[in-house]
């Protein structure tokens, strides 16, 4: 009982205290670095009117986050739409795997920022560029995990399908997808995490609107407490996205529907 209280309340409180202490020390050492109190007061101001809209470049924090989320989901949806079929194909066909694998291995480690100039040149549009960069960097975990899920279908299930003479279509929907769906969701969860990382960097470079742009803009305004607020909000939103994906993933995982 006592131990539990220490674990759930005392320890996090202690850590919070240490964090604030370190932060305060840094704020004292570096002139102009916002203190925790200043940041807290600024946060209240920022959150008090999150929806204001004074035209391009000057909008409330909720609108900035919302426009970032819109781009993230655009690229993410595209990555799902392309990644799952490609992953299924690679998982089911040795030939497809051999054909795709070198490109996946080479393109996967490319930084999103390397794609950005090319995308800007091609699309000449900030939204399209952001969506494309998110698509091209977040599609890999979806492809790889989907293929992994397909390959994890046991031979016994495939034999059941063969004895029943299931068509290729029936095999995919009745045998392969139920096994692969938890893997696909793991891929989607990783992918969404990447997308949220990428959007901030992309918006800093493209400008216009979005949480990444906002942080960079506040840097140029010498408004450093807003940078810290931006970091905290990005973290919180990322955490919420991950939790939601986790919930959805568990819902589609037959192993977690109240049984082992």
């Amino acid at each position: 009982m006592l131990l539990k209280t220490i674990n759930t309340i005392a320890l996090p409180t202690l850590l919070f205290g240490v964090l604030i202490a370190v932060w305060s020390t840094v704020a004292i050492k570096i002139p102009g670095f916002p203190t925790p109190i200043e940041t807290w007061n600024e946060l209240l101001i920022v959150l008090s009117d999150p929806m204001y809209d004074n035209g391009a470049g000057d909008q409330g924090i909720a609108l900035q986050l919302f426009s970032s989320l819109k781009r993230v989901f655009g690229g993410f949806a595209l990555a799902i739409a392309v990644g799952i079929p490609v992953g299924l194909l690679i998982g089911m066909s040795k030939i497809a795997q051999t054909a795709f694998n070198p490109y996946i291995q080479i393109l996967k480690p490319v930084s999103p920022l390397a794609w950005l100039p090319l995308a800007l040149f091609v699309f000449k549009d900030v939204d399209m560029t952001a969506i494309f960069v998110i698509f091209i960097t977040s599609i890999w975990p979806i492809i790889i995990n989907t293929a992994l899920g397909v390959r994890s279908v046991s031979d016994d299930f495939i034999n059941v399908a063969r004895v029943l003479q299931l068509t290729a279509f029936e095999r995919v929907f009745q045998i392969i997808l139920p096994v692969a769906v938890p893997f696909i969701f793991t891929g989607m969860r990783l992918s969404l995490g990447i997308a949220w990382l990428v959007i901030v960097a992309a918006e800093m470079l493209t400008g216009g609107l979005g949480i990444g742009f906002w942080i960079w803009d506040e840097y140029n305004n010498l408004n450093y407490s807003h940078i810290i607020i931006g970091i905290i909000l990005i973290g919180v939103v990322g955490y919420i996205l991950d939790t939601i994906m986790g919930f959805i993933a568990d819902h589609f995982d037959y192993r977690k529907r109240g049984r082992v």
Binding site: D156, N159, V160, Q165
Partner: protein, 265 residues
């Protein structure tokens, strides 16, 4: 035996390529004729090729030489007229007991109306006495129950031949005895032709009309065939001291542990 056998395994070889030009001759010149409604068990030491024969009959693996005919039609692919009960039940874990059977019935009996499907599925769940568990998932029922569902699923598609690869191998001896009784009762009702692979001498004698004894691999083949002349229904207790039962048992033990004893592994 009628002029034309129901299932005819005709001079079958099975050779597994091992790569680098090497190969493993698992089966050599296997010939066996099986009558309709017969229960045949195949017994032999581990690795002799029992599963290999069963997979060839199921069409899950390809024959290297020779031919297998079911009612004079050559077997070259899997099909629902040769249902398989797998050793590890192979139930789909995301479907309930009912849905596992329903899925097979819907696919194979596409002539049935939805209402008839339900009756059909329930008839086979009933046959293995699992009405109370029909809405449970495989993870929620015991190993013996899972194996019964596997049997019900195989029977529900009304196969000509029921192929069972050590169906009770993973079960404790009490559950095993219970399932053997289930199987004999069901076969009396349905009149299925059953081929069952086993390691267990008593199981072979109790269940079978004939016991096929295999020699050891490589180049394994059928060593002896034993007729079990015991009337049905058979009762395990009454058989304990039955002369014919003991004779059959003795013959199999003699074959496995004297004539074709396995000293390695």
């Amino acid at each position: 035996m009628s002029a034309k056998p129901f299932l005819n395994i005709d001079h079958v070889d099975k050779i597994f390529p091992l790569g680098k030009g090497k190969e493993y001759v698992a089966l050599r010149d296997v010939k066996l004729e099986i009558r309709e409604n017969e229960i045949v068990s195949i017994i032999g030491h581990s690795g002799c090729g029992k599963s290999t024969i069963l997979n060839l009959i199921a069409g899950l693996d390809t024959i290297t030489k020779g031919v297998i005919l079911l009612e004079d039609r050559e077997i070259n692919a899997p099909g629902p007229e040769r249902a398989v009960v797998f050793q590890n039940h192979s139930l789909l874990p995301w479907l309930t007991v009912y849905q596992n059977i329903e899925m097979a019935v819907k696919k194979v009996r596409d002539d049935l109306h939805p209402k008839e499907v339900r009756d059909h599925v329930m008839r086979y769940i009933d046959l293995v006495n699992l009405d109370h568990a029909k809405d449970k998932y495989p993870a929620e029922i015991s190993g013996g129950m899972k194996q019964r569902v596997g049997i019900a699923r195989a029977l529900s598609i009304e196969p000509k031949v029921l192929l069972m690869d050590e169906p009770f191998g993973a079960l404790d001896s009490l559950t095993r005895a219970n399932l053997q009784d289930h199987l004999m009762r069901i076969q009396m009702q349905t009149g299925n032709t059953v081929i069952i692979i086993t390691h267990d001498v008593d199981e072979a004698v109790l269940l079978s009309d004939r016991v096929i004894m295999m020699t050891n691999g490589p180049e394994a083949t059928i060593g002896e065939i034993l007729e079990v002349n015991l009337p049905r229904p058979r009762e395990r207790l009454a058989l304990q001291h039955n002369e014919e039962y003991l004779r059959c048992r003795g013959a199999i033990v003699e074959f496995l542990y004297s004539k074709f004893a396995k000293h390695d592994d």
